[in-house]
Structures are given as structure tokens and as C-alpha cells.
């Protein structure tokens, strides 16, 4: 772990406080059907249309586990370089809530499917390792809707029973920036693996954030508060910022911190206590007698290892070594699988250096402006590759290429066609250029004489004139050579 040069500290008049953060990320497992039932997990369906008899907890209904969800959890565990537990147990977490039809959530308490692992973060001042405590499988709850009726709460059970992975980090995070990097890295790993789509708008990725503070230099942890169910990275950062300052203020005023569950109010940008949850805090976990211990063989795990694609860390290493990218460039290009695939498709048939610059520079800026993902890019990898080759073989200049690129962004057109149609091809015929240059020298007799008498600075003027007359299409290198001869 490298020394963090830009430490995140909360300063009060005499004291500096360090913030200690641990995350419990709830990631929805990508699967067709739910963890213990055969209803669909599709997002956005009409209320209560994806609810089986099991999900609605009708009398006598029993859970049967989805093998794919088990595989997804193990794959994620492998991606987190974690210990896979060959025997794990499903427990019932007992509490009453309107959107919890069974009166308990099936989760894993003592024996999770995945044990300790780690995630490497690329911070501006070096790498940081964040420990993973565990990963377990559990059921999602339904949704309570409080604002459709003044007297009643409405319950939609479509989400009830959808598989979640709860990924618990060690309290290794120290700043909102690290939390940002951690969540993004976790999401990137799961997207590479195809185990969670990481779509935060649809609630596929949420987190409970544990925050405590301690005076800089002390070893013991402070009392922590848990901020429940935060559904965007930005809100996580805001909540941490608010909560850490709240705790520091309490300590500075001589108060102690109550260990409690808090809610982040996104409108007021503050956290507040959820007292209603407190008295029901005894979850009475016990092994679910409707299920047996989940046992997986070495063979089962080995087969899954074969399905693991190259993950961001390894890919980054390869990009640096094989393509001579800078760590900065590599980090950006591997951040998600789609980007790195795009990059690798572009460089199949074109120059790596140019491709890197064009993707990180022009393409990202253009996509950003249009609010598009790389998968939605109007310019296919193949066409960007062609554009780069047109630059490389001198057909067009870099400047003209930008014009072509703009046309390409309007619709996926072959850059060659654009060049032809718009007549943007670079003039590289020496005879044609000679004629052009002769004309320019002819038109600027006086300046040519001045140049010849030693005013060498005027060379630039002549290049500019030639380019202007050619409409930017003249091959600058050839123009240089011919001009020198002629002058």
C-alpha cells in the first residue's frame, strides 16, 4: 500500500480526524430467474406481475435454489481473489416488514459462500489494496410505495426474492474518493465477469456505508454509524462527508457517538437516525430448515475458473507491457470491458499510439458530449481503425481527420467514403504540389526575395499560403520539401 499523499482529513481547531469507511455493497446477480423461485427478474414490469407463489410466501411454498446464481457468486468471489467456501449455509434473518412476505429474508450469516479477498484501487498517487471480508447470497425484498395513497402503503413484490450478492469490505477506505474508486472498481470487475450489470439507476447496485472517525494517529476505531441503502456513488460521497463532519462535531463538543442506523436524505443532503428500525434489531438468525447446506466440489469451482475472463488488473498489465501504454492510459482503457474490447478491436488493424490518443481524446469527449456509452458509439471500432489508417498512410492529415471524425459521429459512415465524397483527400502528388507552390511563389515575389536574402522566418508564411490554397489538403511534409527546393 502506498503512502497516501493527499490524505482526507477533517480539520478542527486543534485536531485532525481520519475517516474510516467500510462498505456493504448489494449487487443484484445477473440471472433470468430469482434466487429461490422461477419468476422473472426483469426490470420495470407492471407491479406484482413477476411474483410466484414462493415469492408471495403462500402457505406451504418452499425455496429451491438457482444454480446460476450460485455460479455467479463464486465467479465474483474468484474475481475478488477470494476464498471460495465449499460448504455454505443459508440462514433466515427474521424481521417483519410489509415488503418482506416470508417474515424473514433468506441470507447467509455464519457460513457465507465466499470468504476473504481483495480489490486493488488505482489512486492518483499509487495503488491501494482494500480487503474484502466476505460475499454472501441473499434475497432482495419487495418495494413499499408510500406516496400513492394518503392512508395506505402499497406493496409491489416484483423484486421480492431477486438474488443479491452482499459484498462486505473491511474498514479500509479512508476518503470519499477512495469510495468512488472502490465502487467503480467493484462494478468494473462484476461487469467483466457478467455477474452484475452495476446499473445504479435501476437499483442493481446499492450500498450500506459504515462511517466512523478517529483522531489522526490513533489506532482504535471510533463508534460507527451505518448509512442504509445509498444508491449512487455521488450520494455515498455526500453522505460520508456529512456524516464524518457530524461525528467530528459531536466529539469536539464532548459528546459520544451512538452506534445506529441512519438514512441519507438526498434532498436535504444530511443523514438522520432511523429509530423505527432499532427495536426490531434482533434478527434471530438460524439455518433455514427448508434448505440444506450448499456444497460445491473442487471440480465445480475449477470449471468456473475456466470461464473467468481476463480481469481489469491483468488486462491493464498486458496493455502496458504489450502495447507500451502509460499506466494512466491503460487504467482508462480497461475501466470497463466494452471500452477495452473497443480499443482492442481498433488496434487489430491500426496503429496503437494513434488509436489510444483518438479513443481517450476525441472519442471519449464526443461520447461524453452526447451522453453515450461506448457500446452506443456511432463510430464502430472498424471505422475508427480505418480513419487512423488514413492518417497513418498520409491520405489525410490529422487536422482533416478531425473533420472526418465529426462527420462520422453523425452516423456510422466509412471514413474513406467521407474523404472521397467531400474531396478531403490529401494532395501528395509532387507535380500537382509543385504547380501549386510555383503559383504561391509567383503571387508573392517580394516575400520570396526577402526569404532568399536571409529572412528565413518567412518559410512558415509560405507553408501557410500553400495549405490555404489547397484547402488544407496538401501533404504538409511534401510541401515542406518542395518549398525548400523552390525557394
Amino acid at each position: 500500500m502506498s503512502k497516501d499523499k493527499s490524505e482526507y482529513l477533517i480539520n478542527r481547531k486543534d485536531n485532525q480526524y481520519e475517516v474510516v469507511i467500510g462498505l456493504e455493497v448489494h449487487a443484484q446477480v445477473t440471472s433470468e430467474s430469482k434466487l429461490f423461485s422461477t419468476s422473472s427478474t426483469k426490470f420495470g414490469a407492471e407491479p406484482n406481475t413477476q411474483v410466484s407463489l414462493v415469492d408471495a410466501a403462500l402457505p406451504g411454498m418452499l425455496p429451491v435454489i438457482n444454480e446460476y446464481c450460485v455460479k455467479q457468486a463464486i465467479k465474483t468471489g474468484i474475481g475478488l481473489k477470494a476464498k471460495i467456501n465449499k460448504r455454505s449455509v443459508f440462514d433466515r434473518k427474521n424481521y417483519f416488514y410489509a415488503d418482506l412476505p416470508q417474515g424473514y429474508q433468506i441470507s447467509q450469516f455464519k457460513d457465507p459462500i465466499v470468504g476473504e479477498g481483495k480489490v486493488i484501487l488505482d489512486m492518483p498517487d499509487g495503488q491501494k489494496e482494500v480487503g474484502i471480508e466476505r460475499l454472501h447470497l441473499e434475497q432482495d425484498a419487495g418495494k413499499s410505495i408510500h406516496d400513492l395513497d394518503p392512508k395506505n402503503t402499497f406493496v409491489d413484490l416484483n423484486r421480492s426474492g431477486v438474488a443479491l450478492m452482499e459484498i462486505v469490505s473491511k474498514p479500509d477506505l479512508r476518503s470519499p474518493d477512495e469510495v468512488n474508486a472502490y465502487v467503480k472498481k467493484l462494478r468494473s470487475i462484476m461487469r467483466y465477469l457478467g455477474t452484475c450489470d452495476g446499473n445504479m439507476q435501476e437499483g442493481s447496485l446499492r450500498a450500506d456505508v459504515n462511517v466512523s472517525v478517529r483522531k489522526k494517529g490513533t489506532k482504535e476505531f471510533g463508534t460507527r454509524c451505518e448509512i442504509k441503502n445509498v444508491n449512487s456513488i455521488k450520494f455515498m460521497q455526500m453522505a460520508i462527508e456529512y456524516e464524518a463532519n457530524r461525528q467530528v462535531d459531536l466529539i469536539e463538543d464532548g459528546h459520544s457517538i451512538d452506534q445506529e442506523t441512519r438514512l441519507f436524505d438526498t434532498k436535504k443532503n444530511e443523514t438522520r437516525s432511523m429509530r423505527s428500525k432499532e427495536d426490531a434489531h434482533d434478527y434471530r438468525y438460524f439455518p433455514d430448515p427448508d434448505l440444506l447446506p450448499l456444497e460445491v466440489s473442487d471440480d465445480f469451482i475449477e470449471k468456473l475458473k475456466l470461464e473467468i475472463p481476463e480481469l481489469p488488473d491483468e488486462k491493464k498489465k498486458r496493455f502496458i507491457e504489450k502495447f507500451k501504454l502509460s499506466p494512466y492510459e491503460a487504467t482508462i482503457l480497461v475501466s470497463d470491458n466494452e471500452t477495452s474490447n473497443y480499443f482492442e478491436n481498433v488496434i487489430k488493424k491500426s496503429d496503437v499510439k494513434l488509436a489510444t490518443n483518438w479513443i481517450i481524446g476525441e472519442l471519449f469527449a464526443a461520447l461524453n458530449e452526447k451522453n453515450l456509452e461506448i457500446t452506443e458509439s456511432p463510430i464502430s471500432a472498424g471505422n475508427l481503425s480505418k480513419l487512423i489508417n488514413l492518417i497513418k498512410d498520409g491520405t489525410i492529415s490529422g487536422k482533416i481527420a478531425k473533420t472526418v471524425f465529426e462527420h462520422m459521429m453523425e452516423g456510422d459512415k466509412d471514413p474513406k467514403k467521407i474523404v472521397e465524397e467531400k474531396g478531403l483527400k490529401q494532395e501528395s502528388d509532387p507535380k500537382a504540389l509543385e504547380a501549386l507552390i510555383d503559383k504561391v511563389i509567383d503571387d508573392n515575389r517580394e516575400k520570396a526575395t526577402e526569404y532568399k536574402s536571409g529572412k528565413v522566418k518567412l518559410f512558415g508564411f509560405f507553408v501557410g499560403q500553400v495549405m490555404k490554397v489547397s484547402g488544407g489538403k496538401a501533404n504538409p511534409q511534401l510541401v515542406n520539401e518542395i518549398l525548400k527546393k523552390k525557394l
Binding site: 403462500l58 402457505p59 429451491v64 417483519f96
Partner: protein
């Protein structure tokens, strides 16, 4: 031909197959007798006219290859039955109509049987006398104001009184065997995992098992053959090769080793029970089996273990009855108020008591001392049986420590009520099969049963021993039809 309702299941099937009786005649006879027997309060829901319609339909085009061709049958009200009210004996499910069918009952209908109605039981199967039912006590046809046992009390009463030729009950701690013993019929609790739990209102998931209740061992074997099946919808269902239990039924048990556990000689066991057990041992010897004294050292700890494990699981299994999705709901000012009132008014006293026990033993600070401890003792109890089965093929014990008692006699003393299951509970904790067969009468003329406990999945052997003993015992139930004027 004897009166239709007096015939055993096997006789009825033979007469239907021989076209001597139609399904309609048989169904009407049981409906008629059931109509005349309302005093027993055996039914919670009658489905008589639908049953007769189905019988008529069966007769139009009878499929006589089925195992239960056109046989009418009432079932315990713990099995969810499609479009027929299912209450589990509780007010909280008083108005619940499932849109699905339990696997066990589906297996029964698939073999041609016809639903007569739903039989009374203790609320959520929690009881040993059928007195905890929201729908009132059930009379034992043996004598007035006598309990029929529980929790499958409506079932035992209905079979003994011949309101149904046969039935299915469920057994969590003795709920098939104890009422069978109290009413002079045969009741089998199969090995855990033998019959699917899908669609059965859950009491204690690691102990619950459905099983047949019948007038004789052969009928019992036949129904077991129908209901025992592997079911993908139940994760605890076991995929093993099931026998043709009736075809392979034999009274030849020569050379079988039968264990007699000394720990079942409990303090204050009535002499009648002691004598019955001795007689049972003699019968087994007569059949050519060998008697071997064995020890099940942790027997005395079974009941305390059971009263931790079963309530713990029940406290969680019954959390779904919260007034939100189905069943009874009391008005409340807010969600929590609604929950508390619904569950307080919807559950009876015994169910509330057990939910409280279960909640307590799982709660923070007590889990290790109670729940975990009980799971460990459960292991010791199972080890006892594993050890014993190295030496014997089956174990013979009394079914209950007494004969049926009077309604109201034990309702104020939960512990004395719980002691009823002292001989049956260890079998559930170890997941083994157990059968109770009628073996004699006490001084009052009330029936007494003997229990045979088998190895896991060895129902065939168990049925064979019961079949052989039944022949020797030649039990006759003394039923006077006192409830029919």
C-alpha cells in the same frame, strides 16, 4: 357384501375394479355417513356435492388401472387444496383459498381418488388432542368427550368412525401415530424426505412429514406407495428408489432383529402399557423374529430438544401470517399495530405460546444456550439410533404413555400435554420412519397402540413387521356409533 363404509380401502378398490360397486355408490355412502356424524366435528370443510359430481364423472369413464380408482377421501386441513378452503385449523387462515395443490394430495388425485373434504386438526398442527383448533374439539368415536389425539385428530376420528376409507395426516412430533393409537387405527410417519412438503402448511420444517392413516397395514402401505415421491419443488425431498410397498408386503419376518430400548420404560408408565409392550414382544417372537435389548441413552432428552427445535422453526414459519397477503387481518392504526393485533387475534393461545418459546430460544444471547444446544442433543439422539441399527432391523416401543384422555383434562397444563409425545418425538428428531398399530385395549376399553421404528427409507421392512404383528394381534375396534341417533 358388507356395508360400504365398513369395508377397508383394499376391499373397496377390489369391488370397484370388479364393478360390484361404483365410485358414486361408495362416495355417496361416505358422504351420507359423514352427514350423520357432524357431532364428531371431524370436518372443517365439506366438499360433498363436488365429490359426488366427481364420482359420477369417474363412473362415466372409469380408469380402473389407477391405484385409488374413484375412492373418496377426506384429508387433513393442513394440505393446500386447489380452490378448496385450507385453514390449518386457524382463524388466521379462516378465509384462505389456495390456487395450488400440495404434491401429496396431487399424487392422491392423480391415482383417481376424490376429495370429500378437509379434516379438523390442531391449529397449525400444534397440539396432541385437537383441542387447539379454531374450529373446536373433535370427538373420538371410541367414547363421548374423549380426545381423538392430535394434531391429526379430525383424521383419526374420521378413519375410525368410517367417514373416510383412509386419509393423510402430518406428523411433526407424533401427530399421526398418537391419534392413530388413540382411535385404534394404523398411522405411518414416513422417513423425512420421503413425502414432499410442498403445499403443506409448515409447522417445523426439519420435522414435518406427511403420512397415511388407515384401518389396516395393507391400506396404509397402498397409500404410502401413492404419496411417497421425489419432488423437485422441495429441497429436502430425497431421490431414492421407492418400493411397490403393497406388492412386496409380506408377513414373513423370520430372523428379523427387533430392538427393545430400555429407556422407554419411563417412570409412572401405566401397567397396561407395560403389559401391552410385553404382549407385543411375544407376538414378534411368535412371528419368528429375534428380540434384542438395546439402549437409546438420550431418549429422555428428546422432548426438551423437540420443544426448542419445533417452536424455533415454527416462530419463523408462522411469520408470514401477518395480515398482508392473505388470511385474517385486524384493523390497525399503522402497520405495526395491524401486525400485532392480527397475530394476537388470529392465532390461538397454544400457537402464541410456541411462537413465544421459539422467538425466545432464537433471540440474541439465548441462541447458543437453547437452539444450538438442542441441535447438538439432536445429533446425540440420532447417533443413538445409528448405533442401535448396527444391531437391529427395527425397534418396538409403545406408541403413547397412556390411552386417550377426556376433553379438557390436560388443557391447563402444557407440559403434561407435551408428555404425550414422549415415545414419538425421538423418531422425528432422527428423521426415521415410525408406524403405530392398534395392539389392545386398556381397562376402559380404549385402544392402545404399539410403535415400530425403522431404519431410514426402510418403510418396507417396517410395514412387513406391522403386517405380521397385525395378523397375530387381530385387533377389533369397539365402536358403537354412539354419536348417531
Amino acid at each position: 357384501m358388507s356395508e360400504i363404509t365398513k369395508q377397508s380401502l383394499s376391499e373397496l378398490i377390489k369391488n370397484i375394479k370388479d364393478k360390484k360397486l361404483s365410485s358414486t355408490e361408495v362416495t355417496k355412502a361416505f358422504v351420507e355417513r359423514s352427514e350423520k356424524s357432524k357431532k364428531l366435528n371431524a370436518y372443517v370443510t365439506e366438499d360433498f356435492s363436488a365429490a359426488i359430481d366427481k364420482a359420477k364423472k369417474f363412473d362415466e369413464n372409469p380408469n380402473l388401472d389407477l391405484k385409488l380408482p374413484g375412492i373418496p377421501m377426506a384429508v387433513k386441513d393442513l394440505f393446500c387444496t386447489k380452490n378448496v378452503k385450507t385453514t390449518a385449523g386457524s382463524k388466521i387462515l379462516n378465509n384462505f383459498i389456495p390456487t395450488y395443490e400440495s404434491t401429496v394430495t396431487q399424487n392422491i388425485w392423480n391415482e383417481g381418488a376424490i376429495l370429500l373434504g378437509k379434516l379438523n386438526c390442531d391449529e397449525f398442527a400444534m397440539g396432541s388432542s385437537n383441542e387447539t383448533s379454531f374450529f373446536g374439539c373433535v370427538q373420538n368415536p371410541i367414547d363421548k368427550d374423549l380426545v381423538p389425539g392430535g394434531s391429526s385428530g379430525g383424521s383419526s376420528s374420521a378413519v375410525a368412525a368410517q367417514l373416510t376409507p383412509i386419509t393423510v395426516g402430518t406428523d411433526t412430533g407424533g401427530s399421526i401415530r398418537q391419534p392413530a393409537s388413540f382411535t385404534g387405527i394404523v398411522g405411518l410417519k414416513p422417513t423425512y424426505g420421503s413425502c414432499s412438503r410442498y403445499g403443506i402448511v409448515a409447522f417445523a420444517s426439519s420435522l414435518d412429514q406427511a403420512g397415511p392413516m388407515a384401518q389396516n397395514v395393507r391400506d396404509c402401505a397402498l397409500l404410502h406407495e401413492v404419496i411417497s415421491s421425489y419432488d423437485e419443488k422441495d429441497s429436502t425431498s430425497i431421490d431414492f428408489k421407492r418400493n411397490n410397498y403393497v406388492k412386496e408386503l409380506t408377513n414373513n419376518i423370520k430372523g428379523k432383529k427387533i430392538g427393545i430400548p430400555k429407556e422407554y420404560r419411563v417412570d409412572a408408565m401405566p401397567k397396561e402399557i407395560e403389559d401391552l409392550w410385553k404382549k407385543g414382544i411375544d407376538y414378534v417372537k411368535d412371528c419368528g423374529a429375534e428380540i434384542i435389548d438395546i439402549s437409546l441413552p438420550h431418549t429422555n432428552y428428546a422432548l426438551p430438544t423437540y420443544y426448542i427445535v419445533a417452536p424455533a422453526e415454527a416462530s419463523s414459519n408462522l411469520a408470514r401470517y401477518d395480515g398482508v397477503k392473505y388470511g385474517f387481518r385486524a384493523d390497525g392504526e399503522n402497520l405495526i399495530d395491524m401486525y400485532e393485533k392480527t397475530r394476537s387475534e388470529g392465532f390461538g393461545a397454544e400457537v402464541q405460546r410456541r411462537i413465544m418459546i421459539g422467538t425466545y430460544v432464537l433471540s440474541s444471547g439465548y441462541y447458543d444456550a437453547y437452539y444450538l444446544k438442542a441441535q447438538k442433543v439432536r445429533k446425540l439422539i440420532k447417533n443413538d439410533f445409528d448405533e442401535a441399527y448396527k444391531k437391529v432391523d427395527a425397534i418396538l416401543t409403545p406408541s403413547t404413555p397412556s390411552s386417550a384422555f377426556k376433553i379438557g383434562e390436560k388443557t391447563n397444563d402444557p407440559v403434561s400435554m407435551y408428555l404425550n409425545d414422549i415415545f414419538t418425538v425421538p423418531v422425528n428428531l432422527a428423521g426415521l420412519p415410525g408406524i403405530s398399530i392398534p395392539a389392545g385395549h386398556d381397562a376402559k376399553g380404549y385402544p392402545l397402540g404399539l410403535q415400530i421404528i425403522g431404519k431410514a427409507f426402510d418403510e418396507q421392512n417396517l410395514l412387513n413387521i406391522a403386517y405380521a404383528m397385525e395378523e397375530k394381534i387381530n385387533f377389533k375396534n369397539k365402536i358403537t356409533d354412539w354419536w348417531i341417533k
